[in-house]
């Protein structure tokens, strides 16, 4: 009797907590998403009318921001992968005694608030920073070009902020590769590129999958980078949900948008994990 109940006793408090404060809110979100304003009620008063057309309206009205969110998140993920892969490789294979120190350095920027760092980028790349005047005096950019308040800045900010999320899982799976497999590949007359394509990369795939997910998911829902580094033309779906909730008090639309975002991400993630062929994550 005792043997059976122990795991459930251990699970109960934590799972109860997650059920109450994660599952119930999501169900409530679904419930709110089909509500409509009470006729003659105040702002922020809604009743359940099962109006599923809320989803269509919300999507049609904001399809641009949806597309932008997924595009920016995709670009930031691809950039972060391109930057982080050689870095993770260097830490795993070329750092010798410095390995632990370098790993700490990858996470270290986290300890300075990410908002402070994002705002630091805004000031470094802004009109009063030193980068823009330098580039202008070298005639690399025109007098009217700015680096902040642009799609470039938003994607760059997201790439920067999520880089450690990409680097750590990549490092974890590259570090597990037995260097002898790479030597063997060289002994069989594969050149550096072929070794990478046929041996290193396939073996690091679990890390690639984990890293891209850990970057893509928060990036798609992010609105802080767009708010600080962007302009009204770079609004993402997160910005819309935020303003629907707080400025317009339009809970049904905000809920429908949140739910659509969550569903879209879950579908993409499932397809992606299936395609990549690693179930190791879950």
């Amino acid at each position: 009797m005792k043997k059976i109940s122990t795991p459930y006793l251990l699970l109960l408090p934590g799972m109860g907590f997650l059920f109450t404060f994660f599952i119930l809110p999501i169900l409530n979100l679904a419930q709110t998403s089909t509500q409509t304003p009470i006729a003659g009620g105040d702002t922020g008063q809604y009743e359940q009318t099962l109006r599923f057309k809320n989803y269509v309206d919300a999507f049609v009205e904001n399809k641009e921001q949806f597309g932008r969110s997924f595009l920016y998140a995709f670009l930031a993920t691809a950039l972060a992968l391109a930057i982080a892969y050689p870095l993770a490789y260097a830490i795993a294979f070329k750092s010798g005694k410095l390995k632990n120190l370098l790993l700490v350095l990858v996470v270290a920027p986290f300890f300075t608030s990410f908002l402070l760092r994002t705002i630091a980028w805004k000031q470094i790349l802004g009109e009063q920073g030193f980068v823009v005047p330098t580039l202008r005096s070298l005639h690399l950019i025109s007098e009217s070009t700015t680096l902040t308040s642009s799609a470039f800045a938003v994607v760059a900010g997201m790439t920067y902020n999520f880089l450690p999320f990409m680097t750590l899982p990549l490092y974890a799976s590259i570090d597990r590769i037995d260097p002898r497999t790479l030597e063997a590949s060289g002994d069989l007359y594969a050149n550096g590129f072929t070794t990478f394509r046929k041996v290193t990369f396939p073996l690091s795939l679990p890390g690639v999958v984990a890293g891209t997910l850990l970057t893509f998911i928060p990036a798609a829902g992010d609105y802080v980078n767009a708010a600080i580094l962007g302009s009204p033309q770079t609004k993402m779906i997160g910005n819309v949900i935020d303003s629907r909730f707080f400025k317009i008090v339009d809970y049904p639309t905000a809920s429908a948008l949140s739910f659509t975002l969550m569903a879209a991400i879950l579908i993409l993630v499932t397809v992606y994990i299936r395609k990549a062929g690693t179930e190791e994550l879950v």
Binding site: T6, P7, Y8, L10, L11, G14, M15, F17, L18, F19, F22, I23, P25, I26, N28, L29, T32, I83, P86, A90, I91, S95, V104, L105, A108, P109, F111, T112, S113, F114, L115, L116, R117, T118, I119, A120, I124, Q128, Y160, L163, P164, L213, I217, P218, G221, D222, Y223, G238, I241, D242, F245, A254, S255, S258, L261, M262, I265, L266, L281, V282
Partner: protein
């Protein structure tokens, strides 16, 4: 000339790593440098070196109230999430039971949900029950998103344990409770400590979920975000830099203690 180009070729990836780390640390260095700026309230342009911001970190209005709230929330959320998460990790890592894959799924889902959805959905639940956003709703929100990260971290540590160590304890007539207390728990402890550190840094730095559930209460990230439009006071840079130095010190001490233990 040839030796130089060969040196470059051989060290290309190391040079790359140095560049990548420079990129990672530029904003940290900038934040640190501008904590010494004599720039007054807005701190946008370098106006001269001063130590006064470090001598008087609470000099800007609200900044220390915000920091205090963030620390309180961080400690509470970390404690609760670490306890709940560790229990779940032991259940999954050490027991076979029905509903295990459902449990794993429920742990994975919050990590696969964008923060804005977590924040918005929790707020809408609080609104239904007429609970005003504020201190405790924020603590609850932080526990909720930290639990999964604790479970994953502690579970990995449990999975890496050598089962023979516990069998040895049992062979030496330790009962289940003694084995757990004197063998299993000390071995898992570094994983729990790591999970707690992770939970604290996630909680302390969270903005999106906090912004939804904190109402009028100000936390440090909220303070930074709100002041961003009119310029962040240099005191915020002082606090950001101190947190950085503190965290690095804790990690360095942890490494040092770990190494000492291994030797003895």
């Amino acid at each position: 000339m040839r030796t130089i180009s060969r040196w470059f070729q051989r060290n290309l990836i190391r040079i790359y790593a140095v560049l990548a780390f420079t990129y990672l640390f530029i904003p940290v260095a900038y934040t640190f440098a501008f904590s010494f700026n004599d720039g007054g309230k807005s701190n946008l342009i370098w106006k001269g070196f001063t130590l006064s911001n470090w001598q008087n970190p609470c000099g800007a209005p609200e900044v220390c109230t915000a920091l205090g709230n963030s620390l309180k929330i961080g400690f509470l959320a970390t404690t609760i999430a670490t306890i709940l998460g560790t229990m779940i990790a032991f259940a999954i890592g050490r027991h076979k039971f029905r509903g295990r894959s459902a449990t794993n799924l429920l742990i994975f889902l919050p990590m696969a949900t964008p923060e804005i959805v977590l924040g918005a959905s929790l707020l809408s639940l609080f609104l239904v029950f007429k609970i005003n956003p504020g201190f405790w709703p924020t603590v609850i929100a932080h526990v909720m998103f930290c639990i999964s990260f604790v479970v994953v971290t502690v579970k990995a540590r449990i999975a890496s344990l050598d089962p023979r160590l516990e069998q040895a304890a049992m062979d030496l007539y330790a009962n289940e409770r003694e084995t757990f207390r004197r063998v299993t728990l000390p071995l898992v402890a570094p994983g729990i400590a790591g999970a707690a550190l992770l939970a604290f840094s996630l909680s302390f730095d969270d903005f999106i979920i906090t912004n939804f559930n904190s109402g009028t209460m100000v936390t440090f990230p909220k303070f930074v975000y709100v002041s961003a439009t009119r310029g962040i006071p240099p005191q915020a840079n002082v606090i950001g830099s101190s947190m950085f130095i503190l965290a690095i010190t804790i990690v360095a001490l942890g490494q040092f203690v770990g190494r000492k233990r291994k030797v003895s």
